[in-house]
């Protein structure tokens, strides 16, 4: 934030930010604007995704989905918001009123606060803290506390079972998620979100095919452990966001709606705002940790800051990657059935945690083993690994898809979207 403000002061007002008397005021104004932008982004993104997910689900289940309000039903999220605002805010008589009202605020602010350290492009970040990732992990604690508060204060059996399941699930999966994050932190040697992205920019002074955000510079293809960690992180993030196949806390077929059963109107919508905004948070985290963040292929990271156009391109790169991951998460939700509670615990503690403990130590070993290699040789290793890791699943996926098409004598149909 501050470097961007400094740059603007230099280029527009032609003043030295260090000496100019109003620099602090400009910083403050910038932060307020950033705060308003981020909050609006959270609300609008979750609104649009709520429409998008329903359209996509309709497509996957051979039905239409919302198509009444606006073109292709796009404005349905605005209509939903208006409806939710104008609904009664019911508070059960024998609930703990103060906690019942306060719970959703904890959930919403806990999630929105993570956006402070989430980048959107080179220089496009509210605060590039050197503890960024640590900070993101810690503020999500508010979400868990808010969920337990809401669940307990509702004084409803559905809410309580949902809340306690959610708490157990979120805290369990925080362990493999935290350990999986450790692998990129090890590789980058930094906890700053921008620092981790910069570390994925290829060797300094590399040629066109070595510099910037080429896939062979991404951490996911750096070594086998990082490749595994990427999928462990995605799984754990799904569970932490209570997304299918880990939606046991709100399992509508057994718990009505879980921890938000007793809520209505605006407070009810806060939970869903959080769930959809969390799609962005988890996808953005996966992008910045493993998929090269906003690095532009072929452009060295030091060059980007000098041109507004390149900064915009870096923003586009980041958004495209993140939205692609959001698509994967939605795709998973409408493909997989819900897993059982015992499977959920076994997957976390007996598979993901031991795998990640080994992965962190093996990554360290790998780094020491290849430390004497020159950067070009390292890039060659990454390139080979990238080709192998990328090609095998792609070939298998295509084979399966065409086999399915042949068996069902269906055809690829992209009309009627």
């Amino acid at each position: 934030m501050q470097p961007l403000a400094d740059q603007l002061i230099r280029s527009w007002i032609h003043a030295d930010p260090g000496a100019w008397p109003y620099t602090q005021a400009v910083y403050l104004l910038f932060m307020l604007i950033a705060g308003a932008l981020l909050t609006t982004f959270t609300a609008v993104f979750s609104g649009i995704v709520s429409w998008y997910e329903r359209r996509l689900a309709g497509r996957m289940q051979s039905r239409i989905g919302p198509n009444r309000v606006g073109p292709a039903g796009f404005l349905v999220w605005v209509a939903d918001a208006l409806k939710l605002i104008s609904k009664e805010d019911t508070i059960p008589g024998d609930s703990d009123h103060a906690l019942f009202r306060a719970g959703p605020y904890f959930v919403v602010t806990g999630l929105v606060l993570t956006f402070v350290a989430l980048p959107f492009g080179d220089r496009l970040i509210a605060a590039d803290m050197n503890l960024g990732l640590f900070y993101i992990l810690s503020v999500t604690a508010l979400v868990v506390v808010g969920l337990i508060m809401s669940a307990w204060s509702s004084n409803s059996k559905w809410s309580l079972v949902g809340g306690i399941r959610s708490a157990a699930q979120v805290v369990s999966y925080e362990i493999p998620a935290g350990l999986a994050i450790m692998v990129p932190v090890l590789l980058a040697g930094s906890l700053s979100t921008q620092g981790i992205i910069r570390a994925q920019g290829g060797p300094a002074g590399g040629s066109f095919f070595l510099a910037g955000g080429w896939p062979w510079n991404w951490f996911v293809f750096d070594d086998p452990m990082a490749f595994v960690s990427f999928f462990v992180f995605l799984t754990a993030a799904l569970a932490e966001g209570n997304r299918t196949p880990f939606d046991l806390p709100e399992a509508e077929s057994e718990l009505v709606s879980g921890y938000n059963t007793e809520y209505s109107g605006m407070r009810f919508s806060f939970f869903f705002l959080t769930e959809w905004a969390n799609l962005w948070v988890m996808s953005a985290l996966a992008t910045l940790l493993f998929l090269g963040g906003w690095q532009i292929p072929g452009v060295a990271p030091e060059v980007i800051g000098h041109s507004a156009a390149l900064v915009f391109v870096s923003f586009l790169v980041f958004v495209v990657k993140t939205v692609a991951l959001v698509n994967v998460v939605i795709w998973l939700r409408w493909t997989l059935p819900r897993i059982r509670v015992d499977q959920m615990m076994v997957l976390c503690w007996k598979y993901l945690v031991p795998i990640e403990m080994a992965a962190v130590l093996l990554t360290a070993l790998w780094m020491l083993g290849f430390a004497h290699l020159v950067p070009a040789a390292q890039s060659a290793i990454h390139g080979v690994f990238f080709l192998a890791a990328g090609a095998v699943p792609l070939v298998l996926f295509l084979r399966q898809t065409f086999a399915n098409l042949r068996l069902t004598s269906d055809r690829v149909d992209l009309t009627n979207w």
Binding site: L131, Y135, W152, A167, V171
Partner: protein, 164 residues
């Protein structure tokens, strides 16, 4: 100036949170007062330039220990109806005397001690600086922590054994 204002803000919230923990009838309200106290303490750590400690305060205490407290409150059904009966007068008197004695001791200690202004190194409180102290200067105590954590795991299983 800003520092003093922030210090008093955080200090008042921390003390109020602490009082809330002791005085709240409902254990869940007490736990939430604890949350406020944790966040205020994190703010105080920030004022002392101990950034890592501030984030850890939130991550470990608000994120893990408070969640354990909340779960235990839920597990045991410690609603306000089950609040313990008021203790007998002798216990109250002993408690008050003990608290007064401790407060007096702390006050005399703080008033007699001198606090020379410390000049921290420029990277004070950053991750790398803390890591260097932890992994180079104090390797053995660090390894001892793993044994402590192992004991905690064993303890948890022993306590819950047969009921799992």
């Amino acid at each position: 100036m800003t520092e003093a204002v922030l210090f008093w803000l955080f200090a008042v919230v921390a003390v109020a949170g602490g009082l809330g923990v002791v005085l709240a009838r409902d254990p869940l309200h007490g736990a939430l007062s604890l949350l406020a106290a944790f966040f205020a303490l994190a703010g105080l750590f920030l004022l002392l330039a101990a950034q890592l400690l501030a984030v850890l305060q939130v991550l470990v205490y608000a994120g893990a220990i408070l969640v354990l407290f909340l779960l235990v409150i839920l597990l045991l059904d410690l609603g306000p109806a089950r609040a313990a009966a008021s203790p007998p007068g002798v216990v109250k008197l002993a408690g008050a005397l003990g608290a007064l004695g401790l407060a007096g001791l702390l006050c005399t200690l703080f008033l007699s001690a001198s606090f020379p202004p410390a000049v921290p190194p420029s990277d004070f409180g950053a991750v790398a600086a803390v890591g260097r102290v932890l992994f180079i200067d104090y390797t053995l105590p660090f390894e001892a922590i793993s044994l402590l954590l192992l004991a905690a795991i064993l303890g948890a299983v022993v306590v819950a054994k047969g009921k799992v």
